[in-house]
């Protein structure tokens, strides 16, 4: 028979392992979302750089594709692990986050350049919050993309900012997604 201290240690081991499993599951699903969003953000920024007049439409298209992608991803994950990952609550949460972002842009009278920096910073803020709860990878990815976005905003004038954003936002999410898959 073991003593109370050994039993406490064993339970702590169990708790730690369960925490790692949960984090691993979150990282597995999130990494696919990050990879998808990395590609979409990269394409939307590059398309906006080529055809600046239609930049907003490219982003609407990116959001529409991402919604379809999330549904597909959810169905794929459910078939594989029998766990539903995205349901109506997630879509409502994303819609509320998006609505508040639009609210800020409208009442803040943001210029297109300011919006180019605002949206990644705003979304990455939620990544950083997720990092507090679900694992430091979100925190690192969010903080890095925010820092690089601010560097671009203050030091890269004109349209080349979109190229920078394609690299640091799109590229950053892709690298972050790959890193999460390996974690």
């Amino acid at each position: 028979m073991i003593d109370s201290k050994q039993a406490t240690d064993a339970l702590a081991d169990i708790e730690d392992t369960v925490r790692r499993v949960r984090q691993s599951q979150i990282y597995q699903v999130s990494s696919l979302v990050l990879l998808m969003w990395g590609v979409l953000a990269c394409v939307a920024d590059l398309a906006g750089w080529f055809w600046p007049r239609y930049g907003l439409y490219f982003w609407f298209a990116a959001y529409a594709v991402s919604a379809v992608g999330l549904v597909a991803l959810s169905a794929y994950h459910r078939s594989k692990s029998r766990v539903r990952v995205f349901d109506g609550r997630y879509f409502l949460t994303f819609a509320l986050i998006g609505a508040f972002g639009i609210f800020c842009c409208y009442f803040g009278h943001f210029t297109p350049r300011q919006q180019t920096a605002f949206w990644p910073i705003y979304i990455m803020l939620f990544y950083m919050m997720a990092g507090v709860w679900f694992g430091y990878a979100f925190l690192v990815i969010g903080a890095t993309i925010i820092a690089l976005t601010l560097i671009g905003y203050f030091y890269i004038p004109g349209l080349p900012l979109l190229l920078w954003m394609a690299a640091v936002n799109g590229g950053g999410l892709i690298v972050g997604g790959l890193w999460m898959r390996r974690s």
């Binding site: 109370s4 081991d13 499993v21 692990s81």
Partner: protein, 99 residues
């Protein structure tokens, strides 16, 4: 008075069972992921999985994904039950119900 399960109580096997028990029923973990989660070596993990499989606590499924062999380990109903009893016994020990 409940007894600790000697098969589960070994530290690595406890981690393996904790990891598998955290998943929904009939959902398993790939060997590579289990190795990363438990921090075990290939040989060590393989040996302990075999012990758990012999006790009927886990099932091991080997398949090919493309050309790569993939081993998936899943907790059985008996394994989940044994793990739950083991955890209950640990809690009893902490609560001072067992000496």
């Amino acid at each position: 008075m409940a007894e600790l399960d000697d098969i589960i109580h070994q530290p690595l096997r406890l981690k393996i069972m904790a990891a598998l028990n955290a998943l929904p029923q009939q959902v398993g973990l790939e060997f590579a992921r289990l190795k990363k989660l438990t921090g075990a070596t290939d040989g060590n993990l393989g040996a302990h999985i075999e012990t758990l499989a012999k006790a009927g606590y886990v099932s091991v499924e080997k398949a090919f994904v493309g050309k790569k062999p993939q081993t998936t380990v899943t907790a059985t109903a008996a394994g989940r039950g044994a793990f739950a009893r083991h955890v209950a016994t640990l809690q009893e020990i902490i609560a001072g119900k067992q000496v």
